[in-house]
């Protein structure tokens, strides 16, 4: 296990280095940020001053080496636009994104697993068919449109929930989050459901497929023969086995939820990282783009690692294979 983790971390370092270089060259190829940032009223003298102030007057390789030098000391550079350390800028937005992703994930799992299990347990019932048809909608409707529709219905027509932004934040265990205040929860509900919809459908379908597959397995027949109640067979034995594919997919999807919730954040004006990256790309704010991708990649690596560890907890076969190997 330790060897495995070390190997993973080394791979990560290589991936991070290659990616930072790609982004550096890529942003350089798109264009010159000063063409966007410098006021059009300005003359050439002012433009040259800005180019020098942002360190863009040096050749690209020198800028990259300078970046690497800083990165090794934990400094990913300062945002051109905000004049704040890029990392600090991202970390400021991270809680908002994390709580949104977390809320969406909880909704997807809490609603998706039971619905999917039911649909798998009684595949022919009309309720199950409705669930499955609904999950197709969840897959195929564009997030952007659903978000706007939800705002129209719940915020504009009914006036139950606020339409934009993050609500009041509270502190719990030293973490600042809007999930502990009533106002905060009201604000997070619509965007979280919007973000959860696609994942919910996915979880639902996986759970259903897992259910159907497992019900035919020998261990289920054995459990039944042993005289266990149907409830115990499904909720304990089958459930555990369904969880394995679910954990894999959830792990991957959590990364997606955190890194690419751009659409939902835009529609609901949620002050998270997704909005930051879009704005940064529009402004060619290279330090933020590079730092964001570095953070994202690190996060994916960490989540995948956690998934692998979870496997060995859930599935005794993995543990045994490792013990042997």
């Amino acid at each position: 296990m330790t060897v495995f983790i070390i190997r993973r971390l080394m791979q990560t370092a290589v991936v991070l280095a290659v990616m930072s270089l790609l982004v550096f060259v890529g942003v350089f190829a798109i264009g010159d940020p000063t063409a966007i940032l410098v006021s059009p009223d300005s003359d050439q003298i002012e433009r040259d001053r800005a180019i020098a102030a942002l360190g863009l007057d040096k050749p690209l390789w020198e800028q990259y080496l300078y970046f690497l030098y800083g990165a090794f000391r934990g400094d990913l550079g300062k945002s051109f636009v905000f004049n704040m350390p890029a990392l600090q800028l991202i970390m400021q937005r991270l809680p908002a994104t994390l709580e949104l992703a977390f809320a969406a994930l909880v909704i997807a799992l809490v609603a998706g697993i039971p619905l999917g299990m039911y649909a798998g347990y009684r595949p022919e019932s009309p309720v199950s068919k409705t669930i499955m048809a609904g999950s197709i909608l969840g897959f195929s409707l564009p997030t952007f449109w659903v978000g706007l529709m939800m705002i129209m219905v719940f915020a504009v027509q009914l006036g139950w929930l606020p339409s934009t932004g993050r609500g009041q934040v509270g502190t719990i265990f030293g973490i600042t989050t809007s999930l502990v205040t009533l106002d905060g929860l009201a604000h997070v509900l619509l965007p979280a459901v919007n973000l959860a919809l696609l994942k919910l459908s996915l979880v639902c379908r996986l759970a259903r497929a897992g259910m159907r597959e497992n019900l035919l397995m020998d261990y289920v027949k054995f459990a039944r023969a042993k005289g266990l109640s149907a409830r115990r067979v499904v909720l304990v034995h089958v459930f555990k086995n369904i969880l394995i594919p679910l954990v894999t997919v959830t792990g991957l999807e959590l990364g997606n939820l955190i890194a690419f919730s751009v659409v939902t954040e835009t529609v609901f004006a949620w002050p998270g990282m997704g909005k930051l990256i879009i704005d940064s790309i529009n402004n060619l704010d290279r330090p933020v783009i590079v730092a964001y991708l570095l953070v994202t990649v690190s996060m994916f690596v960490f989540i995948n690692l956690a998934v692998d560890i979870l496997y060995s907890i859930l599935d005794p076969r993995v543990r045994l294979a490792e013990a042997k190997g």
Partner: protein, 525 residues
């Protein structure tokens, strides 16, 4: 007894209704802004959304009213003592939010800070560089010297926010966290959450007209649909930059009022009239023409005559634009009332092309941004067929602003004909004339992407920029625009109309400079 109880209940019910109509108390105001703010430091980034926010917390020596006419701010009066000396009388009894007095020392500290701000991506130095020396006559009188006659000094200073001398050396971060965000403005700084909101509280010691609002929250909602939805849901009471697509619907909504004004922004086509061979003017087979047809004024005039401006303003802009014949709408200082938009005349245009030696037209690729101005992409796509009609095979290419801006500007100049916009931040015609139509050189032609050059125009603008007398300068600016337009230095399309929407019961005093100020929001009753 019972009756009074009932009355009390009715009162409580009414109060509840009111609180539903205007959530979070009638003293609070929430505004949805459409563009991102990058800092609270008023000298960090020369970007109008930043200045818009700074106006709530800071004052300038000279203010601009809704029509961008200059009016007294922290200076009560100003005059040119001679051609190169200006005297400003400062307002007495003004206090900063920390209680300290405002004097000439703060003005000097501000002038020192402007060019100093570290890492500024676009500094305000360009508005203070004309001042070569200053002299404090007494704490409430200050004189500025300029190297040459510079009539725009008051206009330039109407962009500079005065900070306290205590914060001359405060870095941008101290403004963002509030430590140095100490101004003299109508609101005191409360909170800035980057990318989300800016909060201010009424400055009860304000020297000017006190605002109706005890607390103002400026929410950053850059997505158009989300901003409109927030207004409809009542989460914000005012929004700026109402998109044309929602304008008609909001007009019929009983809960919403609209306010609009012709803005200071012109949308135009810049034409490469500089190079002998321009990269995107080709023959019909696609080979670059040996001679740049756009250098010929008859071709430029023909292109202008091919455009159906009323259709663009009415259909594509859905009425939120008026056809343009110059670089700044009528009514602004220095704009010529004589300039009318070219009427569509395809036959006349073809005749001009024939005279110029292109009876069968030529091929042309036109470029523009697709995420910068309202309907920018659609406008360009409508112009394509209009050019086709006079025999010019037109291809339309639109790009994100990030790519377009750096490719289309100095030193790349990658395009032959492109759609751009210009907002006259100073509210008078020298701003577009100097940047768009003067020959590229130090301090001028900074955004002249077509590299248009006409000695006559240069001379008239230079003359205007050295004329302190307002009436004479007005005439010279008008004349410069007329000469440049007769030469089709650029092809104007339309002036944008700025629209705000408020919840019923509130009104917004619309501003030509696109600023959205809590001070301009008032209750109707």
């Amino acid at each position: 007894m019972k009756r009074s109880y009932l009355r009390g209940l009715a009162g409580a019910f009414a109060a509840a209704m009111i609180s539903v109509a205007l959530p979070a108390g009638a003293q609070d105001l929430t505004i949805g802004l459409g563009a991102n703010v990058t800092s609270i430091d008023p000298h960090f980034h020369n970007l109008s959304p930043n200045s818009n926010v700074a106006t709530h917390f800071f004052n300038k020596l000279i203010d601009q009213d809704e029509q961008q006419k200059l009016m007294p701010g922290l200076a009560t009066e100003w005059k040119a003592l001679d051609n190169t000396t200006w005297e400003f009388k400062l307002r007495r009894g003004v206090k900063f939010h920390d209680g300290s007095d405002f004097t000439a020392d703060d003005v000097v500290a501000t002038l020192k800070r402007v060019p100093w701000v570290p890492n500024s991506p676009s500094s305000f130095r360009i508005y203070t560089q004309a001042i070569t020396a200053h002299e404090i006559v007494d704490p409430y009188t200050i004189r500025f010297k300029t190297a040459a006659p510079y009539p725009l000094l008051p206009t330039d200073l109407s962009t500079i926010f005065i900070v306290s001398k205590k914060h001359e050396q405060s870095p941008t971060g101290d403004f963002n966290n509030g430590k140095a965000a100490i101004g003299t403005g109508p609101f005191k700084f409360v909170e800035y959450v980057p990318g989300d909101r800016i909060v201010g509280a009424r400055n009860d010691a304000y020297w000017g007209k006190k605002t109706d609002w005890a607390k103002v929250t400026l929410k950053l909602i850059t997505n158009n649909s989300a901003r409109v939805a927030a207004l409809l849901a009542g989460d914000v009471q005012v929004i700026e930059a109402v998109p044309a697509t929602d304008h008609a619907r909001l007009k019929t909504n009983a809960n919403v009022s609209l306010a609009q004004i012709v803005g200071n922004r012109v949308i135009y086509l810049h034409v490469d009239s500089f190079r002998d061979q321009t990269p995107h003017a080709t023959d019909k087979a696609g080979a670059v023409l040996p001679n740049n047809p756009l250098k010929d004024v008859r071709v430029r005039r023909a292109l202008s005559k091919a455009i159906n401006r009323p259709a663009i303003s009415e259909r594509i802009m859905e009425g939120l634009a008026i056809p343009a014949g110059g670089v700044l709408a009528e009514g602004f200082f220095g704009s010529s009332p004589k300039l009318k938009p070219d009427a569509m005349d395809p036959e006349g245009a073809k005749k001009l092309l024939t005279e110029a030696g292109y009876p069968n037209g030529f091929g042309l690729t036109i470029h523009g941004p697709n995420d910068r101005y309202p309907n920018d992409e659609k406008v360009l796509q409508a112009i394509g067929p209009m050019f086709n009609r006079i025999g010019i095979d037109t291809k339309v290419v639109t790009l994100p602003w990030a790519t377009f801006a750096s490719q289309g500007s100095a030193p790349n100049y990658a395009y032959s004909l492109m759609l751009v916009g210009w907002g006259a931040g100073t509210g008078e015609a020298s701003s577009p004339l100097r940047s768009l139509l003067m020959t590229v050189g130090p301090g001028r032609g900074g955004s002249n992407r077509g590299r248009y050059s006409n000695p006559k125009v240069d001379e008239l603008i230079n003359q205007a920029l050295a004329t302190v007398d307002d009436a004479k300068r007005d005439k010279l600016l008008q004349e410069a625009t007329e000469v440049a337009m007769a030469d089709v230095g650029l092809i104007p399309l339309h002036y944008q109309i700025n629209v705000w929407a408020t919840r019923k019961g509130l009104t917004y005093k619309p501003r030509a400079d696109e600023y959205t100020l809590a001070m301009s929001v008032s209750r109707t009753n």
